[in-house]
Point group: C2
Chain length 331, copies 2
Amino acid sequence: MLVKEIGEQGLLAIVQGFCPPEMVGDDAAILSVPGDQSLVITTDMLVDEVHFSDRTTSPIDVGWRSAAVNLSDLAAMGAFPIGITVALGITGDKSVAWVEQLYQGLTECLSHYNTPIIGGDICKSSVTCISITAFGTVNPKLAIKRSVARSGDIIIVTGYHGDSRGGLELLLHPELGTALTSDQRSSLIRAHQRPQPRLDILPKLQTLLASYPSTAIAGMDSSDGLADAIVQICRASKLGAKVQRRLIPISETLQTFVTPQQALEWALYGGEDFQLVLCLPPSLGETLVQQLGTDASIIGEITSNPKILLIDDAEPSTVEELSLSRGFQHF
Amino acid sequence: MLVKEIGEQGLLAIVQGFCPPEMVGDDAAILSVPGDQSLVITTDMLVDEVHFSDRTTSPIDVGWRSAAVNLSDLAAMGAFPIGITVALGITGDKSVAWVEQLYQGLTECLSHYNTPIIGGDICKSSVTCISITAFGTVNPKLAIKRSVARSGDIIIVTGYHGDSRGGLELLLHPELGTALTSDQRSSLIRAHQRPQPRLDILPKLQTLLASYPSTAIAGMDSSDGLADAIVQICRASKLGAKVQRRLIPISETLQTFVTPQQALEWALYGGEDFQLVLCLPPSLGETLVQQLGTDASIIGEITSNPKILLIDDAEPSTVEELSLSRGFQHF
């Protein structure tokens, strides 16, 4: 069955089945926001053959990723999700099953965070595109912002970087990666297809902050690459950074898959790892890293010198500047 | 200058110029919602050659309409706007001026309602599409819903119906409408290109409601046509309606342009008039219509009989049922 055969009303009935019944059926959805919380809003559009492709991503994975991208933006603000809307532009010759699987992927990801789809729109389009707007709440004192890093802050990243780009490479070129075990291949591909928004970090961070009153949290997510995140934070805070090349967390699997130079390139510029990059006063940051164990790493520090440098204490001659221009840019 | 020449960062800098500087630059925007208000959220996607076309709509008008469509959905819930997000998928060969004019149209419409663009996304796409999510607030007791009409309610519509469809016809076929004056042509075209969300009705309605405690307001907007709005309200409320054909407000201009039968067809099924359709107890509804003067009309009543009938007391034999199937349907 194709979308153009079931029609708009038929398709709406199917996708509304993925929403809480009390939320849909009016011109707009109504949500309550607790009085001591601010509302946090983020929006992202994903377009067929730009952000995903039937060659590398099943509709379930497109759904998962679409939800995860937006929840990661909420996590990057320190906010907990309360709902998303989904606007879907779709070609008439997509199958109805494709749409159902897209919503299945969306709700699979969202269900981990008790987040409903509260509304949306469906329309015909000559290219399939998905626009998601996600809503969250944060105590305004605990909001994470790019512009509030201080000179002397340590830079902390969660998880590994580069795995998502490695997974994409395996999907595009399955003949590569012969040195990898089946589990290793799956782990890289999963990093690309099923990224995990790091909402799990927030309760730990916010509990710790109770002991550091009036400390602002600087940070963002690494959706456009680790280098991009560091540059964006430094620009917004009008500061610089020194990042230690050897401290950037790269998984053993990725190191097995490609050369150290390639792995570093993907960690810095590959993007789509959806980890958090936080800048915190050293004592607070070190306590957080102790609590998170191998799931977090200190990779450098914020400096008053505005240059953003990648350094290697063991090879002082290899200093280079981090830039935005090597990451993915639209157009 | 083309979009692909200025690139993502250049384009972002331009569109961020249309946003309050304190709202943009992070992973998400932060808004506060007063504690006694609920948050209302609506989303709509507009796609090139489906919802607009360079043949009939300038980029400024695309912007105006995109904002108006979403603000009308807020009005249809009884909510006042507090902000919108704009996700734009765009082909690389559109001109940068096109994007600027789009945002100019958006902000022109929004400025009438003191509503900022608080965030968004820009990405490459093989077809230009705009996805807007609008946020508003409403006292939950004053929310307008489709499902709360009562048998005996009178059906009130604001403004005229059919003018937007008339304006579209003039844009598609400029050789028509030779009987119209220049002002009449402009008035129909303006109804199509510059629809006005009926947020102006809300203060009057909500003030009146203070004298009718615990009266629920049933209604929606007529974005998909007057017939669609009446059918949707009746379905959601599990009731029917009798609509008097001769009471449907059709402008003199439209009556000059086309035959009475064509004008009625466009009023019922043309869509995009973005008026409000309200169902209210007779005394409340009549008071509202007195206050609004020629800007509102009583066109019928809600019935316990579930049929949705278009009747004409002067020609009892002409009864017909209103349906969804004659309005615009995607796919």
